[in-house]
Symmetry: C2
Subunit: 416 residues, 2 copies
């Protein structure tokens, strides 16, 4: 009798993570017999710990196919970091208990660097305790900060969203600048790594004249000079600011120490902070936008390349498990920039875990406010192609899965 498999989504969801989920489900179905039932953990590892499992086999094929164009996390995701099993193995013991109760021999963990680390720890723990488990990590993160893989599924779509949005907003700004707003600031995600901010540079002539990266210490004087000069030359200045912009002392601009009238710490934002600085120091009228969840859920504007890679990586994960691999993850390998060619390779979880890949110095222009040609060559192929969802009555049609629960087999609860 074939072992069952468990798939779980982890961390911040993306416009493409459900595409990977569709690939996992469809590939398992295509190899029926090799793998028994495919379960999904409800809300990621939390569902695995609490024995809250979903039976994906009850989901009609049409629903699974519709995951290819549905943003969010169809089975639920979570932010829940497991302790080091050397300190406290309670979670790992529980996971193997749940896996054993449901005859699970395959675990697919779809997440970022932390999740690759968790998958690695679980794999080692299962080996040390004689539990036969194939563990396959499946990379995803809008932050694009995983090592080894050339890019991370989810990132290409955010990059496209940021490039398109700043191109459009800059057109708006240019039309208004003579008598109204001269400076527009778009805040984008990326607490530590500037990949998403860098994507603004793809907008070209209609793009930002200043990008603020977390990798470059923010110098108010230099930035203000840049804005002043740009407005003098173009009449306006468009800015993309990473949420992670910080000064030379490491202080985030988003936490500039503002307090409200009651003395409460004010929720900030790098975008409004930068806009306020410009208004106060240069007197320009500013507008600012904070894209937040909009950027990572914007399935309506997904990159076709990203969607294709998100699917390929999910399919490869299942194929690797069926080939007997474990403790590994499929990664994207770039074979050529232009025409862009890529394939899927295998990497060890140990190589992927817990290492943040920041924007390299050669991708940031000498002045610290723009991207280099090398960066453009890297980013450009990742946003190519449109992959529109179907619409009805003017709205994209996103599927909602039934997510039927698997009957519990354990008598014990687990306290998170």
């Amino acid at each position: 009798m074939s072992k069952n498999a468990l798939y779980a989504q982890s961390g911040g969801v993306t416009a493409a993570i459900n595409v990977t989920a569709a690939a996992v489900v469809e590939t398992v179905r295509a190899h029926s017999g090799a793998i028994g039932a495919l379960y999904a953990a409800r809300h990621g590892i939390v569902g695995a710990l609490t024995e809250d499992l979903i039976d994906t086999s009850l989901e009609p094929a049409a629903n699974i196919a519709a995951l290819r164009h549905t943003p969010g996390g169809a089975f639920g995701s979570c932010r829940y970091k497991l302790p080091d099993p050397a300190q406290d193995d309670r979670h790992y013991r529980r996971l193997l208990e749940v896996f054993d109760a449901h005859d699970i021999g395959y675990f697919f963990y779809n997440g970022g660097g932390d999740s690759m680390d968790t998958a690695l720890k679980l794999w080692r723990y299962s080996q040390a305790h004689g539990y036969p488990l194939k563990v396959i990590g499946i990379p995803k993160t809008v932050d694009n900060d995983l090592p080894v893989t050339d890019c991370c599924p989810g990132f290409g779509s955010v990059a496209k969203y940021v490039a398109v949005s700043i191109r459009e907003a800059t057109r708006d700004l240019a039309a208004m600048a003579t008598t109204s707003t001269q400076v527009f600031v778009l805040e984008v995600m990326g607490r530590h790594a500037g990949w998403i901010a860098a994507a603004g540079g793809l907008a070209g002539e209609d793009g930002p004249q200043a990008i603020l990266f977390p990798e470059v210490a923010f110098d108010a004087g230099r930035f203000l000079a840049r804005v002043r000069d740009t407005v003098a030359r173009h009449g306006y200045c468009s800015v993309v600011a990473s949420e992670g912009v910080r000064d030379a002392d490491g202080h985030f601009l988003a936490e500039a120490g503002t307090v409200d009238a009651f003395g409460h710490h004010q929720l900030g934002g790098a975008g409004p902070a930068v806009a306020q600085l410009v208004t106060q120091q240069l007197g320009f009228k500013t507008h600012w936008a904070v894209a937040d969840y909009l950027q990572r859920s914007a399935r309506h504007l997904a990159s076709a390349v990203d969607i294709e890679q998100a699917y390929a990586i999910g399919r490869a994960a299942v194929e690797m498990a069926l080939a007997g691999d474990s403790g590994v993850a499929p990664v994207i390998r770039r074979l050529a920039d232009q025409p862009y060619r890529w394939d899927i390779a295998s990497a060890s979880l140990a190589a992927l875990a817990n290492q943040e890949r920041l924007l390299p110095a050669e991708f940031i222009g000498d002045d610290g406010f723009g991207i280099t040609d090398a960066c453009r060559r890297y980013l450009a192929p990742l946003i190519v192609g449109e992959a529109y969802p179907p619409y009805a009555d003017g709205l994209p049609q996103y599927v909602r899965l039934a997510n039927a629960p698997v009957v519990r087999r354990l008598a014990t609860d687990f306290k998170l």
Copy 2:
């Protein structure tokens, strides 16, 4: 010899105003002989006052056609309010001087309520001073707050952007809520009128469980109870907040009196203010987005109905001028909700000027946090259909006009 015509864009630009510009140019070209040259004022009325005119006849037909899918304001717009000519007629005298120097007999003014008022004043002034001028207003505003017309070109596309974006972000929120963010707030435009916020309600099941309208006095206690109950029931709460949300005393939430560490007034935002309130009072983790210019420049997500109406209204404006009308504007008349049918009628500028149409009470649900079926019937047809721009290398291709200047004929400058 036929008189020349002048077209000017005014106020905040939209994803569709260039569509109207294309219609004006193409319709004038189709009636060559009836109208001489078609000029555009650079940066709206400012260009008319400073004799900074653009000769649209030098622009290739392909560029004009590409305006149909290009956001922003192709000739530049402005925020510049003219004084009442009864108090100070300097601007009106100058305009007629410029018009006379360039033999302008037609003036097309593409803007919102203020612009309709300016057009009306200029028309009356020209009549009182014996200058033969056909003045046609062309409505546009994302705020959808003009009277008489059933809707305003530009609004349908923003409405679609807001409905799609909140549907997508709510999917994201739902996936994260168990262990991370429980409440998401999207701030949208609409300082006085809640039409844009109302559009969030079109997202349906994946839409906001609370909409904050400027027309409904914000009551923190009732709102917090709504959020608490919604999180208890659904696990999360999605919110759309108009930038114009204010309390019973008329104080904007966006100006909640916060100051930074230096005592400077803090640039606010209704979205962050609402999110902060939720975090502080209920302890939920929140995320917030401020769409700002992104929403009104999002040509990539325009409504096909909006684009069609924006074109029809521009064409009708020229046809009305050619028919000898003046002091009027084309407006959209709704003939049926479903299937949606509409046509173009003529309204007097006096009827359109200076009247803000707020969201009527029967469009707001009894609890003040949602829209009614009547509102849904009104809004639904306006977002129907996709009108994608062409893409190359993953980016929408927006045209940049040459905007060749018309040789000046006046020796005098004008001080704005």
